[in-house]
Symmetry: C2
Subunit: 326 residues, 2 copies
Amino acid sequence: MAAAARVTLADVYRAHERIMPYIHKTPVFTNATFDKLIGRNAFFKAENLQKTGSFKARGALNAVMSLRERNANAAGVVTHSTGNHGQALAWAAQTVGLKCAVIVPRDTPQVKKDAITSYGAELVLCEPTPQSRQETCQRVAEEQGLEFVPPFDHHDVIAGQGTIGMELLKQAPDLDAILVPVSGGGMASGIAIAAKAMKPDIKIYLVEAEGKMCEKSLRAGERLWPNPPQFVDTIADAIRTQQLGNMTWPILLKYAEKDVFTISDADMIKGMKFAFERMKLVIEAASGAAVVAAMSDKLAAMDKDMKNIGVILCGGNVDIDKLPWY
Amino acid sequence: MAAAARVTLADVYRAHERIMPYIHKTPVFTNATFDKLIGRNAFFKAENLQKTGSFKARGALNAVMSLRERNANAAGVVTHSTGNHGQALAWAAQTVGLKCAVIVPRDTPQVKKDAITSYGAELVLCEPTPQSRQETCQRVAEEQGLEFVPPFDHHDVIAGQGTIGMELLKQAPDLDAILVPVSGGGMASGIAIAAKAMKPDIKIYLVEAEGKMCEKSLRAGERLWPNPPQFVDTIADAIRTQQLGNMTWPILLKYAEKDVFTISDADMIKGMKFAFERMKLVIEAASGAAVVAAMSDKLAAMDKDMKNIGVILCGGNVDIDKLPWY
């Protein structure tokens, strides 16, 4: 990774200045029942209430606006996505008046496909494998002269997601730790960069789906994931990517704790149901993973001085006609 | 109604001072998709995020705290309730350390019964008729020396609910109208008192379940409902009471518009689904009624100068294992 590509707190700050007029400053919720249950204070950052229903709006908009600043004649953008990033890029492109094409696997929930087209983007279907996504994306980019904005391995995307951490620490300055769902690692690395720069003692814990095996690689200090890249088998379609990215991996190796919270589908549903029932928030399974990580025996066994815990509710894009507990 | 019992903006203000340390100042959400759809600006007051999951926490806490101010030796409180008020009174009593008994109809959703007992209240079941509720309540009050706090026909309850209107107009000062779901009318009359005092030109529109027939009585200027009081047949268990209260009726006759929004079950579900899908908020059917009223042909046909519409999302207490569209 070139030194020029390093994302800093200053990049996050500039991203925030750039995107602030268009995104929501999402609220931070507390819940007395939850705090009593876990014996700590939880601060839920409600990115499910973000534009397009997930945090991805931040990184996508920062990328599109940065592209436009660099090249006033840019034709547009293209990406592949399990849904949230695609939806966010479509919205971001529409917001600044650029064309957008989105490559989505055939098995993406209909509600996400509809949301992408509702933002005026062209939808291109592909097979549900990382390879098919990348090949289709490259073809469309070349054919239409569009700039590829990847879901996580991108300087401006990471800086954009970092604004979550910056905002959260302004809203809840006394945080001791943050629980972040992780897929490619764009959000986790952005939050880590911002939070560690603002508060070096804060702990960043990754929350992953079963089969992702982050802890093994983090403890070894090397990428132990099998190739070619694959998806893990989880109901949380927003965190299916097994490998951290090439840009996000060194950032998380440096900043994230080696202890990783690995969450089963059944437990994600438990987390979702808590949010629906007690917080009246619609969250997707990836967010449920963070909620249940905060309720876990693993966290309960950790240092009691870690009193104030940030919990990132990364998105709320779930098909409400197919909720996983029905 | 005695002059001394009149609720004024000053009462609402004092209620707010009293309850503010314990309740949430709920956020007001906007939604670009919704605004485009209805051609006006909607401001959603998210009382579904209130303590206990509904606005009822405000009135109940104001009543309990006022009781304690008047009588430091009060034994406790009792009420009958379809759920939300009972839950709120249980929470309020627990908050100030008083005993609470709640009479609930047998057919109340289990999730509401559980919530009431989770706040430490005693649950007393009755038949699902207004008469059975009142008789059981009176018996328990006498046996245990508890003060009856009714769900709506009570000075301190109305003043407490009025804090919604006061807060909302501070958060969204340019409102031209407010859409308020109505059952006994405690919330609607409280909001009307506060909003009309702060902004005399604002319009207060009632939103009701089919069969409630408010408009007929309002237009005639007299109570045309059949006796004995009954429940209307609706999925919105929070707004089943057919008659407005004896205290709330003259307030709403004075302040509410004669045009009433009458919402079918199917349309309430449509409103709920919009909130779940596009706003990521869990709301109950009564709130869905207000959402869909804002989307209705009836509102569309009204004066285009009525640009900014407050929509009261009164609660989020829905059994998520039995969502009405499954």
